[in-house]
């Protein structure tokens, strides 16, 4: 089992540890980012950004690497989703939509993905991250809170707020 914690100094001296982390958790990080972004290129960016940042400025202490990496991937992917939304508003030609869901995805799943990606981009990013970590990755509020630097109670508030907002957006879509 790979070490669960290691210090900044240890990681700085031994970048090979990041390579081991990448081998173990790289696919998980990629899938987490891809589900939110729907684009392999954007998910690759998130995956590489996350691990190269670990190499350059490792965190002082990590209690659980799967939790830390999932939380970081979700946050980066949501940031990217929001950036894409802004770019589309400002310069539609600069970053065209590039979702590449598998062609055999049925219409219902494709529609669910479209709705979730659009809706997540419009939520408060912290609420969106809490919601995704809780409902898509099954992380406990205590784990989410530790990774985001907030209390478990506040995580529950964020999740509830995100859910209410998503339900409102969904109802609005249905009424069209």
């Amino acid at each position: 089992m790979f070490i669960q914690t290691f210090s900044r100094r240890a990681m700085t001296e031994a970048p090979d540890d990041v390579a081991a982390l990448a081998r173990q958790y790289g696919p998980k990080v990629f899938r987490a980012a891809w589900r939110i972004l729907g684009s392999r290129a954007a998910a690759e960016d998130v995956q590489q950004q996350l691990f190269l940042k670990l190499l350059e400025s490792p965190p002082a202490q990590v209690d659980s690497w799967p939790g830390y990496l999932t939380a970081s991937a979700v946050r980066l992917a949501i940031d990217q989703l929001r950036r894409q939304k802004r770019w589309r508003l400002i310069a539609p030609l600069w970053r065209p939509d590039e979702t590449d869901d598998a062609p055999d995805d049925d219409a219902e799943r494709a529609e669910a993905a479209r709705f979730m990606r659009t809706a997540l981009a419009s939520l408060n990013p912290r609420d969106a991250a809490c919601f995704v970590m809780r409902h898509l990755h099954g992380l406990e509020p205590a784990t989410i809170g530790r990774e985001l630097g907030i209390t478990p109670n506040y995580v529950s508030v964020c999740v509830h707020r995100a859910r209410t907002a998503l339900e409102a957006l969904q109802a609005k879509e249905q009424s069209r």
Binding site: P15, R35, R40, F51, E108, Q170
Partner: protein, 257 residues
Amino acid sequence: MNALDRILESFATLDVPANVTDEAQRKLESAIARRSAVRRSTRVRRTGGWLAAAVSAAVVTIAVLWMPLAPTPAFAFASVQQHFRDFRTLRFEMKQFVAGRQVLDTRVAMTREGNVRTDIGTNMSVVVNSADRRVITLMHEPRIAMQTPLAARVTRDDELKWLDEVRDFQGMATRRAEPRIIDGQTAYAWKLRIEDMSLTIWATEEGVPLEMQMDGAAQMRFDFRFQLDTPIDASVFSTEIPAGYTAAAPDAEDAAG
């Protein structure tokens, strides 16, 4: 189960094909290996001390003796990389083309101290001022300005990723024999490949980069023109709200940094 739960259930079952994950993983491991190699070589350079200095002196001596006999300019791609690492100021204009049609023109000015100004077309400018620890986003058409505090040191955005890729490039760069004249200076082309991008960098005999062309997938092309170490007025990096612009509240997460 309400409508949102059904959507969530559907969304949660989406999965990326295994070959796509494998390909991403391969690129990730290769990127980590490259970056680790650069870090190791940087550490060696930093700690080499007098030995490195002595070796450098010997190499310079040999180069000086050899140079008059060399039929072509005796500079290496490492010299181009060095200029990209050591600049005090860098300005560049980047034109993006899709299928031969120009879609965007971006101008960037940056300093070693971490100030960066990006002008995207005529619509928008983003200025990061590290000394003021502030970012201002200007939307020119509606004349809206949004100031946000800079909580952490600037990290490179996607538009500058190529710079790290070129600086850290460890592979084979081949030089074309035929020079061309750019702004009155003789420039030589270096060709290199970084993942799925093909790069041609035109640099002077001293290794000063002048132009670069990046060709990628989906008929995408980027043309760059560089100016290194030219003076840049401090006002370029001002994060004060310009006259005639209305201040807008930043997004919650921007304000939080």
